[in-house]
């Protein structure tokens, strides 16, 4: 079936098999491999992308369901070659080790800041509770999100 949606602010129209998942569309068909697959059952959050402002697990959504939606992936959050403050602060606070959870983690944080520009530490932890990280112990990730929220508020 043919679907039409916004992907990283560009409108695209594409023929998709109704049985494939959103993550397959992104990784296999569109070659956007920044979105990662870690568990395929919605537990690890590595495949998190934004659909209409909400963080969703792209392994649990069928591709055709994004018809008419606005989808943002890790490849779409920096503008004019300039890193998004979340990306910049993930670098600076040491929030990255192996980096496999990083795209999903940043997308969950991105969705949080869209909805709540002024999150408390607990709200940040809630927002990334569905994103597993085995390397960092989360502390520097939480710091990165806190600093980014402050910067974005100006």
């Amino acid at each position: 079936m043919k679907i039409k949606f916004y992907l990283n602010k560009k409108e695209i129209e594409i023929e998709v098999d109704p049985t494939i998942r959103l993550i397959d569309l992104l990784r296999e068909k569109l070659n956007l491999t920044g979105t990662k697959e870690g568990c395929s059952i919605g537990e690890c959050g590595a495949c998190t992308v934004i659909v209409d402002g909400k963080a969703i697990n792209s392994c649990l959504m069928l591709a055709y369901q994004v018809d008419g939606c606005n989808v943002i992936t890790i490849e779409g959050i920096s503008e004019d070659g300039k890193l998004h403050p979340l990306q910049e602060n993930f670098l600076k606070t040491g929030a990255i080790q192996c980096g496999f959870c990083t795209p999903g983690m940043i997308m969950s944080a991105y969705a949080l800041l869209l909805e709540n520009p002024n999150p408390t530490e607990e709200e940040i932890k809630d927002a990334i509770a569905g994103n597993l990280c085995r390397c960092t112990g989360y502390k520097q990730i939480i710091d990165a999100i806190e600093v980014s929220a402050k910067e974005l508020k100006g």
Binding site: C44, L83, L91, G94, Q97, C98, F100, C101
Partner: protein, 790 residues
């Protein structure tokens, strides 16, 4: 030692971070090649079985589907890192449920999934051995009959006279502890691609140790090493876990690629990853300790049994570290230790961050607290009485010297930072505040209702450890670094050590920058490729920093010497003048600022100076007598102390981790950001080991095959982690930097266990101390393998 550095010890952003935050970083599964085929594993639902026949007839006529079996393995089908006991394809029998019998290969993953069900394997189930305590019984099932016994290894250690030690003791305490099987749980499942080349093969994968992989692929394909090129993709976590499994997966992909002449990708689902990959050894630890009324430990008798599972893997080395460190950092005159690892039909066990240390630390640190409680002293006091000092002699007879023996320094620091003794005395319970359950009558009587005010109990506990750095007497320990300087002052470097996601490349860049007096941005780290540099041994045993910085510093010093000569000549300086390189600038002690680094490099190349060098670092000699477990096991050690502060809900058994204070002596901190990350991450993994993680199995069949059942810590599970570094002096490695990755993990479970004892008044002997263990005093398992409502 001079610890005034310009780059070392600062916070430096990782060299690979930009790619990782933008989604550009390429992990193994992100690689695609033209005509690439996928491979699907064929397994059977059996723990131990003889394979009678494999029937591919239903799929043989399928177009473009290939069947890969042991017959396609041109080299050796039996491989392994130490013993060659693990088949690439199990054509005769399976000895554990993860075993792979054959592989089918084709273009469409979904179709392969469907076709795999049509492969008919005829097998005869064999009796299983899943209880390691029965492995050495004379009538036990043999996992590998050709080995003639299920004993993988036995490490004895004898020091002093154990009977004399017990007779000189006032009290003797004997306890048994158990630890569980756990999964590495790297977030990236295994993935590898083998690509045929003109006369060889190229492997790209989520590979921890490219040189080890090359060796195993060579064994399996019969290709010489130089025809196999192994490239490490960005590695999505390993923690020791992407070694054996990745070697075997790479070999399978290579075999299929050579047969089909096409690129072959193997990518595992999480379920396959947990099913087939090796895990942390479960241990059964018996400790008997004799001590005087003054708290001096006189004798320790230790008997440890490790479940090695179906294959040898790294069991001999894992248990060797255990035998060296089993007493903990305490000077004990009389020690008698036996550590054995045995084969069973369980999932096999091998290297995992900690590597044979978290298990004995849980036992020995629990034991030290029990002694303190019996003697009416605090946990820090008992450790001060027995802890190593400079010149102490370890259980292996090694005199601790040439470095700061900082065990009491880290202990005192942690105790002071947390107000430990006062809190410990305040929270201490004389007897258990937990209900004793009667399982026959599972109804609580009214007098057992918990007063809501007493529901939450606070506790504090600590644990200390010493840890030998690098491989020790496990084997040859050396590293290489190739370094060159371009005309524009750009430095390129390459080491034979692989990045594992922990930030090793950045650590080594900082070391080079410090030595050359330049900023880290001027240094580029080249891709790890087995065809380009000599094997520097694996990235294991927290050896990356200590061994890697040694060879990097050596290479940079060689180049710097040559640049100094050029500077002296070019600026007509006295021979006895001292040249300093700092932050891209070059200074003379007599004349001050001379020029910048780039200009000197330009000058050097104009004068045809050789600006390439090979750095080399070899560990000092170590010795080991395998008959009595005596010798200088490791050339240096690191020390750590962690304090856990918890709140226990004594009604539900939930343990809230309020604060973990982690004090570590890593020698020198190279990258502060990375070092802090090691502590946060290691503590978090250690906490998971302490209170919830466990792989359970029913007759070898794993229950927890994905993250819905195998729970690892989330962002919400630890309130606060406070890292603190005590930087001791050491003469080895580059700039005295030692190890940090593993020490951070090994202590946490033990510290939490001691905090739970402090909070509840009850000692727990079996990890993990999960809800059931805490409230009921035993583990509860599902009665079958069904998941959820299935």
């Amino acid at each position: 030692m001079n610890k005034e550095f310009s780059v070392i010890g600062k916070s430096v952003i990782r060299e690979d971070a930009f790619d990782k935050v933008t989604g550009k970083a390429k992990f193994a599964d992100d690689y695609k090649f033209d005509e690439m085929l996928y491979a699907k594993m064929i397994r059977i639902k059996a723990t131990h079985a003889k394979i009678n026949s494999i029937d591919f007839s239903e799929i043989e006529n399928q177009k473009d589907i290939y069947v890969i079996t042991a017959n396609d393995v041109k080299g050796k089908n039996l491989v392994g890192l130490i013993k060659h006991d693990q088949p690439i394809f199990c054509n005769e029998k399976v000895v554990t449920p993860g075993d792979v019998i054959a592989m089918i290969v084709g273009e469409d993953e979904d179709k392969l999934e469907h076709l795999a069900k049509k492969v008919k394997v005829n097998f005869t189930p064999l009796p299983t051995l899943t209880d390691p305590t029965k492995a050495l019984d004379p009538d036990s099932v043999l996992i590998h009959p050709e080995e003639k016994s299920n004993l993988i290894i036995h490490h004895p250690l004898r020091k002093g006279d154990i009977e004399k030690g017990f007779s000189e003791s006032d009290e003797i305490l004997e306890q048994t502890y158990t630890t569980q099987l756990i999964e590495h749980a790297y977030i990236e499942p295994e993935s590898v691609i083998a690509i045929p080349k003109e006369d060889g093969i190229k492997i790209i994968g989520s590979i921890q140790n490219p040189f080890t992989t090359r060796r195993i692929v060579s064994l399996a394909t019969d290709l010489p090493l130089e025809k196999i090129e192994v490239i490490q993709a960005q590695l999505g976590g390993s923690f020791g876990g992407k070694d054996d499994t990745m070697c075997i997966l790479s070999a399978r992909a290579a075999v299929a690629s050579l047969k089909t002449n096409k690129p072959i990708k193997i990518k595992y689902t999480r379920e396959e990853s947990i099913l087939e990959s090796y895990k942390r050894h479960p241990y059964i630890l018996n400790y008997k300790v004799g001590y005087t009324k003054d708290g001096k430990i006189k004798a320790m008798k230790i008997d440890i049994l490790a479940d090695g599972g179906a294959y040898c893997s790294m069991s001999p080395f894992v248990t060797w570290r255990t035998v060296v460190q089993a007493t903990g950092p305490y000077e004990i005159e009389n020690v008698h230790t036996d550590v054995r690892a045995v084969y069973t039909n369980n999932p096999y066990t091998g290297a995992m961050r900690g590597f044979g240390s978290p298990q004995p630390i849980f036992a020995q640190e629990s034991l030290m607290d029990e002694i303190a409680i019996r003697l009416g002293i605090t946990p820090d006091e008992i450790r001060r009485i027995n802890g190593y000092k400079n010149g102490s002699v370890t259980a292996t007879g090694q005199k601790l010297q040439n470095h700061d023996v900082n065990i009491l320094t880290v202990l005192n620091k942690a105790v002071a930072l947390t107000n430990f003794s006062n809190k410990w005395k305040e929270y201490k319970k004389e007897k258990s505040v937990l209900n004793e359950y009667e399982f026959e009558k599972p109804i609580l009587k009214k007098n057992k209702f918990i007063d809501p005010k007493k529901l939450y109990q606070k506790g504090i506990g600590l644990a200390v450890s010493f840890r030998g750095c690098s491989l020790g007497a496990e084997g040859l320990d050396e590293t290489y670094c190739y370094m060159s300087i371009e005309k524009n002052g750009l430095v390129k470097m390459l080491t034979g050590l692989a990045e594992n996601g922990q930030g090793l490349r950045t650590t080594l860049i900082i070391t080079a920058a410090e030595t050359l007096g330049i900023i880290p941005d001027k240094i580029q780290f080249l891709e790890t490729n087995t065809s380009l540099i000599k094997d520097s041994g694996p990235t294991v045993a927290s050896r990356g920093t200590i061994m890697g910085t040694g060879s990097v510093k050596n290479a940079a010093e060689i180049l710097k010497e040559r640049l100094i000569k050029i500077v002296k000549k070019g600026f007509h300086l006295d021979d006895n003048d001292v040249i300093d390189f700092r932050e891209n600038l070059v200074f003379s002690r007599k004349k001050g600022l001379l020029t910048n680094f780039d200009f000197v490099c330009q000058l050097a190349l104009e004068q045809k100076e050789n600006l390439t060098a090979i750095g080399y670092y070899k560990s000092p000699e170590v010795h080991w007598n395998e008959h009595n477990g005596q010798g200088d096991a490791y050339f240096t050690y690191v020390y750590g102390c962690q304090v856990a502060e918890v709140t226990v809900n004594i009604g539900t058994g939930e343990v809230f981790l309020n604060k973990i204070t982690a004090v570590h002596d890593p020698g020198t901190v190279i990258n502060r950001l990375g070092a802090l990350g090691q502590i946060f991450g290691g503590v978090t993994q250690g906490a998971g080991y302490g209170i919830f993680e466990e792989i359970t199995h029913e007759d070898g069949m794993i229950r927890e095959l994905n993250f819905d059942q195998y729970l690892i810590p989330t962002a919400k599970d630890i309130d606060e982690i406070k890292p603190y570094f005590v930087e001791g002096n050491d003469i080895y490695g580059g700039y005295g930097a030692k190890s940090l990755g593993e020490p951070t993990l090994e202590l946490t479970a033990a510290a939490i266990a001691n905090a739970i004892r402090n909070a509840t008044g009850k000692r727990f002997f079996n990890l993990p101390i999960n809800l059931e263990e805490l409230v009921l005093g035993k583990k509860i398992r599902p009665q079958n393998l069904n998941r959820g409502s299935l």
